[in-house]
Amino acid sequence: MTELIDLVLLGMLAITALRIIFLKDLFAVVMLFGIYSFLSALIFVNLDAVDVAFTEASVGAGISTVLMLGTLALTGRKEKTNNHTTFLPLLVVVITGAALIYGTLDMPPFGDPDNPAQQHVAPRYIQDSPQEIGLPNMVTSVLASYRGFDTLGETAVVFAAAIGVLSLLGLPKHEKAAIESGLKSHLVLRVVAKLIVPLTLLFALYVQFHGDYGPGGGFQAGVIAAAAIILYALVFGLPMATHVIQPTLLKALAAIGVLIYAGTGFASFFLGGNFLDYNVLASDPVAGQHIGIILIELGVGVTVFAAMLSIFYAFAGQAERANIQ
């Protein structure tokens, strides 16, 4: 049954990808990409990767679609006719694809419990992490504790990407809020947004702190919180949003998140353990792990929230400027 659902979803994905190739209307391409992301999130759920699905649904379908639409607002929504020859790319793609498919024949069968990938490292995580870390969600244990150093790097990459976007586009200046901005005529939207935004922020906090026990964690929570503010900015206008959460605050928050993460590492360092070894943070190793994971998830959440929101501000500020000119 799982295989059947998987097959149907993969087929839908393939159709979406084909449609994207042939469409010239970039607006439709971006919307189809949103659909593509949601479909892949469904596939991740079907393949038992709930945490990944959660991230893909919030990040891939939410934030990146919004950013691409923001870019389209600045660059125009039509692709001009393509005078490339299609033959050569097609040839390259077919040859590469054939080579890759030939390569898959040597791979172990899909879903086989005896796959080499399942024999090494993973059994240790599955057997020992509930005792060593004391958390039911193994993904969070591995993400925040066993591979904490890796995650520190990823958080730093998100931070660096935000810096990159800000240095390319610049943040909008914080002006006196113009109440008149935003979607004035959409009364229903304004009322519902007022209801939804606090609920979404609350949900983000739930995801942040429940990530140890269920799917969720700092990455998803940061993105969901950013999405709430993005909704606010879309409905009530960018000036209002920058009035509520100021760009300078975001810049500080993005750095503070990374600092919380690295600071936790240094704290365990000075308490006599290794870098990011949370066992020494409390007298009981499991409690120490718990404290460490909550702290670094907080750092991740703060950085991701600030980075995503400042990236959105940068794009929206550009669009606003283009509208004025």
């Binding site: 959409h186 229903v188 519902v192 939804i196």
Partner: protein, 109 residues
């Protein structure tokens, strides 16, 4: 046992309404009727499917979560359809009768 069969019926009904919505999306002639088809069936399908799922839980925290999802969806999905239709109207899209009316005027004048 009874709960399970009621739940199955609800789920099948929900799936059926989703399907009719999808068919309507393809078959209806203009934008507004399509949005109508999608949004109305969507709401009823969500209600049916989530109640069907609730009957399969042990009536614990999962039930509450499902109810919250239902409330959230009932807020957002009609709003989305409303915003879509309103923006289309704002952007100058006409319904099918209006298009016919303008065509007739063009012919007669």
């Amino acid at each position: 046992m009874i709960l399970e069969s009621i739940s199955t019926i609800l789920l099948i009904l929900g799936a059926f309404f989703s399907l009719t919505g999808a068919i309507g999306l393809f078959r209806f002639p203009d934008f507004f009727t399509r949005v109508h088809a999608a949004s109305v069936t969507d709401s009823i399908a969500t209600i049916l499917i989530i109640f069907g799922l609730i009957l399969r839980t042990d009536f614990d925290l999962v039930t509450v979560k499902l109810l919250l999802i239902l409330v959230f969806l009932l807020f957002t999905s009609p709003t989305a359809s409303h915003a879509l239709a309103k923006s289309a109207r704002h952007g100058g899209l006409l319904t099918l009768p209006e298009i016919r009316a303008t065509k007739k005027e063009d012919c007669s004048s």
